[in-house]
Each structure stands twice: as structure tokens, then as C-alpha cells.
Symmetry: C2
Subunit: 515 residues, 2 copies
């Protein structure tokens, strides 16, 4: 057994069974070990941002650490943007990087760079493996570190991968949540019971999984509070028996308008709402000083234990009545707009779908309607770094082969990591990608409009993507993904149902009419 | 005038006239300033790696600092791989990053990350602009820092871009090379004259420009030395009246076999040759201890002054006879191979072309023949971070609109930054991209073969790109670039000549037969 085999077998032993990989020469012993280790599956991405985004999606859906394999500093750098998103989502994720042979690094060969500093920008835990015999222990510790909800990065020089390792497999990693701060939970219960005036509970992190939302429903039944959700939650489960947590809006005026209705807040595993950007004359922190607040969860606690503890401390009923749901508006035919696109998707999404929403400007109408759609899981972009959706869909579909994945994707964002379509084709993943093709960076035009800046209408400016228009159908075909273009509601419905009925990936380019 | 305008006008005043940009909300005042500043052209990339690679190509061809505009930490991260290549090429390049408003950063909004540490992994100089009035001075100093042959990164918070700036434009940046170390040059001349046994001069950096090669020819005429070139040179000019500098091979056995012929070396602006990777049992440094060597240049000196000084110190003739050149081998028709592809390109490339060689395994046959082809400039991948060629072609074509650009591109590498084709279409750049489609990471398979590892022939392994095969013609069409697929020598010749005759970008997918 060599260092690479010790490392990969330890990972397998810890329950890691997929590696999202784009290796190079300094990772070849790891590649061999991946191929030789029973039960380990390697998924190739044509670009590292595809691997890291896919790992994020995989971990969000399985709840266990995902693994990537990246080539040296530049390969890691290509993965940083989606690692940033994963970090913000507190996704458990382990990066493996091969380094130059330990004796060769001082020669400063062309690909040499400061991997440690680079890894430090996104990693909560990182280590350089110091020898082949350390590979097992280091991997086990990486698994434990990642399980706590952070990025763990392990750098192993090429020679240590090749050299013989005498140590046996490391024992299982020991991970435990921090003890629940029961005093804080009791205090929050007291605060909720005693609050004068309207109160909102802001839910974040794992409290938005089905199990957490059941507890949130109990808390609401006991206190009459409103339930809000962080603007960008890693994962939200939705079903008729789960309460609707109202998403705090993206733009500050809308967020402040919602939040100012409340006299007090309890935040569970959630951060205080702040502006996505800072605008002159607009508060960056959305809560006023006179709005009281209590926070519970965080600091390594188990969010599900915290929210259950809070519901119990309130003596909340165990089975509160299910929420009322609106019926969805009728679907409109005719030219596709952001509105009827959202209606059609909400009405026709199959049971148990995983919805990946990187619609940016186009995904909002759908986002609200989705509360009333068939049961599904929604994944959103936590870190704001675009180019997340196509890779995320790869990982979610690998994690859940029996669930349909629908990726609502902005055209601008999709172009950052478009190579991910190829992995969808190679792995024959059940992903339907809906491209909302407005052929512009519309979020930027909206921001320019906010700032009173003129938007260049010539198609030559830095927000226009229509010269030439990207032909998504052709691009998708190039990567082996069947694709169609639609311009009307009836065509979208037809293509969507067809895509969902056929196995493997599909892409639908939706030409959107303004507005 | 606001901070953004002061900054951009200063850049324009310093001779910067193109910005390769992928901005976001925190860069909008800079976008407005770019659009309003006369003589400033913005070139949009759909991914930041396209912008940084294009800036590298632009600076290599113009010799002056190139400018990028990138969005916060994640946008910068997406550009790091090609910045690494630019750093290794000592390319003068300035990155502009907008940051969150200075007062908002403490709120840690979703896109917040440690930009300083990230920038530090590739930047030789970096600064956070501390207020709107500093923007001009900081930009002028960034220009000076970049001109010295390094990456300069300027981070300016959004509020300082928007706020009024009272300072006038900063004065012109003062940049001067370090004084030439004449004693070292004299010593190298003495060493060259006195060396017993065969001597080679290893040329690096700017000594491989036409002006430097003219001096190298003089040195050879005076001393009888051989001329070698660094394996990865930023830019090599080639013409019948310029000497041929033999490229040090990539694989260590071949490099060592070449280098062991010499008893002594003079390195001019060149680093000692080292292995691209460290292999067990193979030296990582290629020169033996008993091979004497002298280095001149570096440390901020003007490489062209150094090499001229050395030729003068040798009393070398001012006009040595031109080198003998081989006639190119006859072009072969029939199925395309790496060999006849190289022959066809070398024979048919037009005068004065810029050749971008990211052929990896497929570009080597061409690389040797190119010494005997029509006059051209060759750009190669210095830092080894693939996904460089398509963006590099963008920048070279923007820099030299009157020169045809031919990008010889590996299919694996090309897929990292394939979005660059769209910018070629948008700007109607005269780029012909030749995709050497072997549908595998062949360099990795070669490395596996070296290491005695079996290569998975199933098409499922981590080196196979044939399942599904990427249809480059379809992808190119999707991005608005006319494209064709060729399988024979005669078809390649036909399509190559047609592409070169028509304005705007073209792509030719070359299906390669084995071998």
C-alpha cells in the first residue's frame, strides 16, 4: 500500500464514495488509488469549478462530506469560486490536492505556487501531509473537520503518494456536535413567550430541512410568530405539511420593508440579515437597534437539536395543523415571460424534484410560487459567486439518482461553468437545465438603474450578451446534451414534460420576452 | 470627478487603452468611467479566466501593461490560473477589483472574502485604495509596478469609486530598469571567450524578441556557442534573419540528453532548467555540478540592454550571417496525424502570424518545424496552467488587429476557458483556432505510461474525453464562431486557407488519427 492508497482507502472507510476530479500529473497515484478502491466512484469535470460546485451539491443532498481532487495551485484556484459558495453554505467538503514532489518544490517548477495561502482563503481546516504514513490519519481528520460544516483541504506531495505506507487504515474519524447551549435555548423560549408585538423567527442552515421545519411549525403554533428564511439558504425542503418560511428579499428596501414589521427576532442558526451590497444612504444591516433579538445555534451546535430544544422548551404541540397553501395561478400561454415561466415550472415540476435556482433575476417569480408547488428541495446560491448552478446540478443528481433535478439557470451565470453540461452527459444524469435567456447581465442593469447610471442600449456595453447571442442549443449539443429552444408558454410546457419523461440530461433555452 | 474616474483617467493617461472586464455591482462606477473615458476600450469576457488570459496575451504583444476588471474575491479567483501563467511570463498586468463599500465589509456580506490573501498568491505588488483621492496616485504606481514585469493588483471599495475626488490626475508613472550590471556582463564575456569545450547560451524572457535574438546571433558568431531557449518562453520572434534557439525539451530525459553535451552555460534572463515535475530517480535540476555556469540579467535589469552589452563586450560582429534553414518537409495528405498537422500549419501559416501554442502533446511536431516557417511570433504557456490559449488569442488579436492569430489548441485544455470563443466573435477578432482533438488528456496518459500505470481503455477513466465526444463545431457555433471539422490533410489545408482569407474568428476541429 502506498500513501495514496492509504489516503483513499481511509476516505472510503469513512463513508466517502464519490470523488469529483480533475487531476494532473502530481495526482496520478491518487487517480490510481481511486480506480482501485472498491466502492469509490470518480466523476470527471472538464474544469475544476465544475468539480467543486458538484461536490457542494452532492454534500448538500447527502449530508455527508464530498470529495474533490484538484491539480496543484492553479487547479485549486479554478475551484475557489464554488468553494466560496460551499463555505458560505457550511457544506462539508474535502479537497485533495497533489503537490510537487517534496524534494522538487524548491526548484520552483512552472506550476509551483503558494497553495497554502490560496487554500486558506476558503478552508476552515487544511494540512500538508508530511509523509506517506500520515496520509490515513490526515484524511480521517479532514473528514471530521469537514463534517463540522467547513472546507477541509489536504495537500499531499507526489512522492508521499507513491511511497510505501506501513500504517494500517486510520480509525474512524470522531465527530461530535458541540453540546447544545440549553441556557440560551431556554432564554430564547422565554423571550419568544414574553415578546410584546409581532415576532419573527429567522431560520438558517439545517433548520430549513424538513426535520427543522417541522420544529419551526411547532414553534409558530406555540407562539404565533412568523417564520422567515435567510435570503440564501443552502437547502430548503418544501412539502404541503411543512410550514412556509418567507424568504427575506434580496434588495434592501424590500428586505427592510418586511423586517420592520417586527418588534423582535429569534435567529436560529441564522446570521443577522445584511445587504448583499452596501449602497450609499441605505443601511447595510437591516435590523434597527430597537428591534430586540436573540440568537441560538451556531458555534458547532447541531441546529436540528437546537430548534427541537426550543420547540420543546415552549411546550409546543407535536403536530401543529398544516399551513394553508394557495392554489397556483393558471398557466399562461403566449410569449414566455419571467412570470409565466415561473408559473409553468411551479405547476409542472414533478413530485420530489430537486430545484437548483440560479435564476438570478429570472428565478424570483418562480421562487415565491414554489412554496405552493409539489414537494421538492430547493438549493440556492449562498456565496453569490455565479457559475454555481450547472455544477450543483451535477452533484445533486449524483447524490440522488432517483430524484429529478431541475436547474433554473440564468444565461449569464451559466456561461461561467458551461462545461458542466458534459459531465451531465457523461454520467447520464437526470438533470433538466432551464436557461432563462434574457441575453444580458440583467442583475447588473438593475443595479445600474438603482444607481442612476445609464444602461448602454447599443449591445456593446459590459452588460449585453446579445452580440452575438449565445446559441445554448448548439452549445448543449456540443457537450452531448439534447436541447431545444422555446419562446412560448405552451412550448415550454411541452419540452419540460418531455425532458422529465426521458432519462439523462436535457437543456431548454427559454427566450424571454421583456419584461 | 469621482474616484473611479480619477483612477481610469490616470490609467488612460499612462497609456492603458484596453480593459478586459467581467464586472459586477461593486465595480459599476468603474464601468461607467471606462465607458466615459475617451480612448478606453472595454472587452467583455464571459468568465474571468478569459479576461486575465487575454490581458496576458495583449501585454505580451504590446509590451505595455494590460488591464483587467474583476468582481470581488470570487471573480479574482476565477482569474488566478491565467494570472499565474502571466506571473511566470513576467507579463506587465494590472488587475482592478472593486470591493464592498468600506463601511459594509464588516457586515461580512455573502460575497465577502479575503481578497488580499488571494491577490497575494499572484501579485508582485498590491494595494487597497484608501480613499477617492488616492485612486490616481495608486493607479500610477500600479502602472509602474506592472511595467517592471509583474502583476499589480489594485482593490478599490465601491464607496471610494463613487465619492468625489478633488485631486488632479497623478503625474506620469516613473519606471526605470535597474542599471545593467556591467561587471557581471564583462565576466560573462570573459567566461564565454575562455570556456574550454562546448558552451551554450540559454535565452529567456525578452532576449527571445527579435531585437534580443539579433544580439544572440552576434554572440554566437563571436564565440561559436550554441543557442538554447527556455522550454516555456513568453514570446519568441522567428524570421529567416534571426538565429534559431533550440528549445529545451519538456521531458527530463530529453532535456538532460541535450544539456549534457555542454561543459558550460551562460544564462541570459533565464532560469536554470528544472523538471516540470519531479520524478522519482530523475534529477529535478538538469545541470550537473561540474557544468559551469554564469547568469546575467534579471533583478529588474533590461534584458535587451544586458544581451546587447554582452555582444558588445565580446566585440561581436554587428551583422553575422543569417542561419541556415531547412526546407520544410512535403505536406502529406490522408488521415490527420500530429505530424502532418504540424507540417501543414508550418507550410501554410501566413507571414507575420502570431502563433499561440497550447497544443500540449499535439503541438510538439509543429513546434520544431516552426523554426523553418514564415516569419512569426510564438507565444507559449509559461506557468503550465491550462486554459490559456483561447483567451491568449483574444488578447493577441486585440493588440495586433493587422496580424493573423493562429491558436494551436489541445481539446482538453481548450475546454477550461471555451467561453473565450464568444469574445472572439463579439470583437470579430482574426483568430483561427485549431483544435487538436485526440479526445483525451493525452499528456496525462503519457505521464501514466512513464509511471508504469495502466491507462483505462474503457473510456470511463479520468483521462478519457470521448464519452461523449465534445462536438467543437457545435460549441463554436453556439458562441458565434464559424467552424468546420477536418479529418484529412487536404481538408485541413483547405479549411485553414479559407479561415485565414476570411475576417473574424474561425475554429477548425482536427480529428487526429493515432498516432
Amino acid at each position: 500500500m502506498n500513501g495514496a492508497e492509504l489516503l483513499i482507502r481511509t476516505a472510503r472507510n469513512e463513508g466517502v464514495d464519490v470523488c469529483f476530479a480533475n487531476p494532473g500529473t502530481t495526482e496520478l497515484p491518487l487517480v490510481a488509488a481511486l480506480e482501485e478502491t472498491p466502492g469509490m466512484r470518480s466523476v470527471l469535470g472538464l474544469f475544476e469549478g465544475v468539480c467543486t460546485g458538484a461536490a457542494d451539491g452532492y454534500a448538500r443532498m447527502t449530508g455527508k462530506p464530498a470529495l474533490t481532487l484538484l491539480h496543484l495551485g492553479p487547479g485549486f484556484a479554478n475551484g475557489v469560486a464554488n468553494l466560496h459558495n460551499a463555505r458560505r453554505a457550511r457544506t462539508p467538503l474535502i479537497n485533495l490536492i497533489g503537490d510537487h514532489a517534496s524534494w522538487h518544490r524548491a526548484a520552483d517548477p512552472p506550476l509551483n505556487m503558494d497553495i497554502e495561502s490560496l487554500a486558506g482563503t476558503v478552508s476552515g481546516w487544511q494540512r500538508n501531509v508530511a509523509g506517506p504514513n500520515d496520509a490515513g490519519r490526515d484524511m480521517a481528520e479532514a473528514v471530521a473537520a469537514a463534517t463540522a460544516g467547513q472546507i477541509a483541504t489536504l495537500i499531499i506531495p507526489h512522492d508521499f503518494q507513491e511511497q510505501a505506507a506501513d500504517n494500517p487504515l486510520a480509525g474512524k474519524a470522531t465527530f461530535a456536535y458541540a453540546p447544545t447551549d440549553n441556557a440560551a435555548v431556554e432564554a430564547a423560549a422565554f423571550f419568544l413567550r414574553d415578546a410584546a408585538g409581532p415576532v419573527a423567527v429567522i431560520l438558517g442552515g439545517r433548520t430549513l430541512l424538513a426535520e427543522g421545519l417541522c420544529q419551526a411549525a411547532r414553534i409558530r403554533a406555540a407562539t404565533g410568530c412568523d417564520l422567515l428564511a435567510e435570503t440564501f439558504a443552502p437547502r430548503v425542503d418544501r412539502a404541503p405539511d411543512l410550514p412556509i418560511a418567507v424568504r427575506i428579499p434580496y434588495f434592501p428596501e424590500q428586505a427592510i420593508s418586511l423586517l420592520q414589521r417586527y418588534r423582535a427576532f429569534v435567529l436560529i442558526e441564522a446570521r443577522e440579515p445584511v445587504g448583499f451590497f452596501g449602497y450609499a444612504g441605505v443601511p447595510g444591516r437591516f435590523l434597527h437597534d430597537d428591534q430586540e433579538r436573540r440568537s441560538v445555534g451556531g458555534n458547532g451546535q447541531d441546529a436540528l437539536a437546537v430548534i427541537t430544544g426550543l420547540a420543546d422548551a415552549l411546550d409546543a404541540p407535536t403536530s401543529p395543523p398544516p399551513p394553508e397553501r394557495r392554489s397556483l395561478p393558471p398557466v399562461e400561454d403566449g410569449p414566455l415571460t419571467v412570470q409565466n415561466m415561473g408559473h409553468i415550472l411551479a405547476r409542472h415540476q414533478p413530485d420530489n424534484a430537486i430545484i437548483i435556482n440560479e435564476g438570478v433575476t429570472s428565478g424570483r417569480a418562480y421562487g415565491e410560487l414554489a412554496n405552493h408547488a409539489a414537494p421538492h428541495t430547493m438549493l440556492t446560491l449562498n456565496g453569490g459567486s455565479i457559475g454555481w448552478g450547472i455544477p450543483q446540478a451535477v452533484g445533486a443528481a449524483v447524490a440522488c439518482p432517483d430524484r429529478p433535478v431541475i436547474a433554473l439557470q440564468a444565461d449569464g451565470s451559466g456561461l461561467y461553468t458551461v462545461q458542466g453540461l458534459w459531465t451531465q452527459a457523461r454520467e447520464q444524469l437526470n438533470v433538466t437545465t432551464l436557461i432563462a435567456a434574457n441575453r444580458r447581465y440583467q442583475i447588473l442593469e438593475a443595479e445600474m438603474d438603482r444607481a442612476g447610471m445609464p444602461v448602454d442600449a447599443s449591445g456593446r456595453g459590459l452588460t449585453a450578451l446579445d452580440n452575438p447571442p449565445v446559441d445554448w442549443v448548439s452549445v448543449a449539443h456540443g457537450f452531448g446534451v439534447p436541447a431545444a429552444r422555446v419562446e412560448t408558454g405552451q412550448d415550454l410546457r411541452h419540452e419540460l414534460l418531455r425532458s422529465l419523461a426521458e432519462p439523462g440530461p436535457h437543456l431548454i433555452e427559454m427566450t424571454l420576452s421583456q419584461p
